[in-house]
Amino acid sequence: MVSQVSAQLVLATKTGPELPSIDDFLPDPILFQGTPFAINRIILIRIVATIVLLLVMCITAKRAKLVPGRWQGLIETLLEFVRDNIVYQVMGEERGRRYVPMITTLFFTIFAFNLCGVIPGMNMAATATVTMPLVFALWTFVQYWIAACREKGFFKYLRGELMPPGVPLPIDIILGPINLLEVLIIRPFSLTVRLFANMIAGHLLVATCLAFTQFYLIESPNWGIKPVGALWLLGGFAFVCFEMFVAALQAYVFAILSTVYINQSYPEVE
């Protein structure tokens, strides 16, 4: 509604800031329009982030020495964090060994893409449209179904989910479809929406703060209201820091939930 108002007054003096809206997340394609390979601004950000991530990781891996220097030590700390605190803590060492590359890829990619939301040139998290989180969630979905079929057998897994042991039949009739729905739809859907809604909310917060800063501090004709702009700038600082924290947290949560779902496809360890 505010954008409508400001649109009508675009020829007059500014009476309100240019607040961000959903259009930020649905930009028009700028290259190769019309083909299935069209690139819009967000996809361009994604490609740049991919190139940077792969360059950094491959150069660090290539120059990996036995006695690590500082940068290699930092990357190794992150790798060991993913391996020990996420995979091995949930799944144990023998089961977890084959899933460490997948979870590491998920964690690093999501972290790098989320951080693009605070990097000055890009200002938009590469995971802020629905597709990228959907692709990650589908990868996890495929992996935990394959693990279930391999470890427990397809029908045994379904029976374990639909009719859990120790549950009387009347409750089973209600519980069964809910569990089936959860395993089939709710898990990947929740993974997607969690990541992507967090990124949208974060971007809207930061952009709103900075839009108000711009309006009150710079463009407003009323001098008495400039200090309020400084307050909005402080809010911008706070939300940028919060965004960085949320970037890391969402990457961690995605990785650990993937691990938990895959672990639940294995038979229980007594």
């Binding site: 803590q89 929406v193 809604a197 967090n198 949208i200």
Partner: protein, 76 residues
Amino acid sequence: MDIITLAEVAGNISVLGYGVAAIGPGIGMGILVGKALESTARQPEVSGRIQTLMFIGLAMIELLGLLGFVAFVMAK
């Protein structure tokens, strides 16, 4: 004054809806973190495991809050 005029004057009612939808997850998250702190105070040696479980629970609850946000955005 019918309901449409009310909505037009007052803005989007989905904003109110989102505000109401944020109460539940807020309470739930408060209880979760409180219980996690309590159990860490009782048994500090399992604090790593409890922290992991707290983050998993936090993610689930936050999802419900974000579902409200998503509904708000979808209704615009």
